[in-house]
Symmetry: C2
Subunit: 188 residues, 2 copies
């Protein structure tokens, strides 16, 4: 069974995190969410729009070899926290080095850039490319796949991003079943 890690930092975008987790679990992926275990962090993580979600494990206990992919939800406060967290940044580099899959959506491709793992082609929330300051930004696709690095644009593309991950890690049959079951006809 494919296993995916979703770090949740205070200020994460709730639709993005929940869409990714929900779609991936429906698609047959084991998803583990992890909270950043700093001095003021608990497993109850407050999102950008006031929704608190309970994370599964502290990030300090995470071992890269237990996972096939790491994917980061957006939200600026959450993204900055992910970009500044040494454990998250070192996990991103380790996943890339070990040819695992690395994903990010909305503002979070910025945290891939700071880790040095962003691909040659990527997408992100419109204008975030000005913070990322790296060539290769594309605004013509909801999801950009560049080898093992997969990026997406924002809340409105999160369900389709989750579907692409299901296609990649599980297969096209599961992708189609989840797409039909969740009424995601707008994902192509």
């Amino acid at each position: 069974m494919a296993t995916v890690l979703v770090p949740l930092a205070k200020g994460f975008e709730e639709v993005e995190a929940v869409s990714l987790i929900d779609v991936m679990r429906r698609g047959g992926i084991e998803v583990i969410s992890a909270y950043l275990d700093g001095e003021f962090e608990t497993d109850l993580v407050l999102g950008a729009n006031g929704i608190t979600i309970k994370a599964d494990v502290p990030i300090k206990t995470v071992i890269a070899d237990d996972f096939d992919m790491i994917v980061l939800p957006g939200g600026w406060d959450g993204t900055y926290a992910l970009a500044e967290n040494e454990k998250v940044q070192s996990l991103l580099r380790e996943f890339k080095e070990k040819d695992k899959v690395v994903g990010a959506i909305c503002a979070a491709p910025y945290a891939l850039k700071t880790a040095g793992v962003l691909g040659d082609e990527y997408t992100c929330y419109p204008s975030v490319e000005n913070e990322i300051k790296q060539d290769g930004y594309r605004d013509d696709k909801k999801v950009v796949v560049d080898g093992n690095i997969i990026t997406s644009r924002g809340p409105g593309t999160a369900l389709c991003f989750g579907l692409e991950i299901v296609k990649r890690l599980v297969g096209v049959e599961s992708y189609q079943a989840v797409k039909d079951g969740m009424l995601l006809d707008f994902c192509n």
Copy 2:
């Protein structure tokens, strides 16, 4: 400021609940989520896909006059709980009698039916109309507005449903701003 109540029962569909809450808050609506305060209920409510969300208040403290609308997320287990909960059912009837807005998505229009508040025209998750057993089911729109009763179809229509609520309770300018900001070009 418009105020909306979102009851969260164990087994609620997470994408639907979070999409509605997130979009409405971005649109300038005060959203209060409420947990069902039975013997085994706490403010940490477990969704259908293993995601736990912290609700704001116990439903027993809710007064209809404090709200402009009530909207129910889907998920079958959550829907049955909402259909069997006396407080939720009486709130639905009180909202309808007082010409407040009543909404439901996916399986949850079933809980409107049990309360006797479903409109003449409605939508729901495909096949749920067979449980609802009431004429007026439509499958040609993401969101069906029948006076003060608004219904929608499933996870893939939840963001668009939230947008329609913003248009109704706040206005078209806020609707357009949230639509653009969340990249919801597939909502029409």
